[in-house]
Amino acid sequence: MLDELDLRLLDSFQHGMPICEKPYEAMAATLNCGEDELICRLQRLLDERILSRIGPVFDHGVAGASTLAALAVPAQRIEEVAVLVNACPEVNHNYLREHHWNMWFVLTAADQEKLDAALKRIEQQTELEALNLPMQSAYFIDLGFPVGSDARMAV
């Protein structure tokens, strides 16, 4: 269970932490706790996987080339096709969704040529035709969710 200080910590620093000398000391000062206490909490939140990491969030463009792709997989082939898609090192997310196009995955590669080759390989191995939907513009503001008392804690 998260306590009040945990919630303040998440609320205060999920969008950004101080980029100054001794950032953890500065975070502790903001929260009115000691630096040791803060580091202890950060470690616990990482151990409990409440935090996925502390550090930079890189833009997708960093990887070179990326795309969102989908396959329309017949129900009886889902497990088999998931194994083939997931085995592809270029795939970093793969979700099953309720739709005719039911398997959605993000591919990233060093360049466009390698990206196209990876998707082609998936199409050949699965014998399914992919919907290839590369990003054209991003209307991204920030990724962050309120973690106040209305968030139902999973732990």
Partner: protein, 172 residues
């Protein structure tokens, strides 16, 4: 013309940027001075490491430096990929509005395909199924006449999820 050169104008050596990504993509260590830790591995001073991070943030390679929560563990287990067939002439204006909604994590323009008329994608996250249905209706109301058709593809299973990993260098 201003004499001031902004951080984003200063080129960053791609090899150095890559090395920084490799070192920090799994997270910074919980040590008193994480920049000194980073600097030692990049053969530079902590001040230079800090400046490099600020440059990368200014030029957009780094979106933010933060304590990144795992939203699934915080209870945000429901996500819907909402897809919209939106008037091309208005997509930038509408995309920015939708992208700034607090429950939308990603909002992108993508190409239409045969049998796939949707050009605007917005990922919504909620604590339960009712939440995301509600968000979908709110977006629909915002788009109004500019939207011809839409759907929400609810995720039923995560098949694979790994953080952003750098592909091997282009030489291999």
């Amino acid at each position: 013309m201003s004499d001031c050169i902004s951080l984003s104008d200063q080129p960053v050596d791609p090899t150095l940027a890559r090395r920084l990504i490799e070192l920090t993509q799994a997270g910074l260590p919980l040590v008193d001075d994480p920049w000194a830790w980073l600097a030692a591995r990049l053969n530079m001073t902590p001040e230079e490491a800090l400046l490099l991070l600020k440059q990368l943030q200014a030029n957009g390679l780094i979106r933010r430096i933060a304590a990144v929560p795992n939203h699934y563990r915080l209870g945000y287990r429901h996500n819907g990929m909402t897809v919209w067939d939106v008037d091309d002439a208005r997509i930038d204006e509408l995309g920015h509005s939708i992208g700034s909604l607090p429950y939308v994590s990603h909002c992108y323009q993508r190409p239409r395909r045969e049998g796939w008329p949707y050009n605007l994608f917005a990922m919504v996250h909620g604590l339960d199924a009712t939440d995301i249905e509600h968000y979908r209706y709110s977006i629909s109301a915002m788009l109004g006449d500019a939207c011809r058709a839409h759907e929400m593809l609810v995720s039923t299973r995560i098949l694979k999820k790994t953080g952003l990993r750098l592909p091997p260098p282009a030489s291999c």
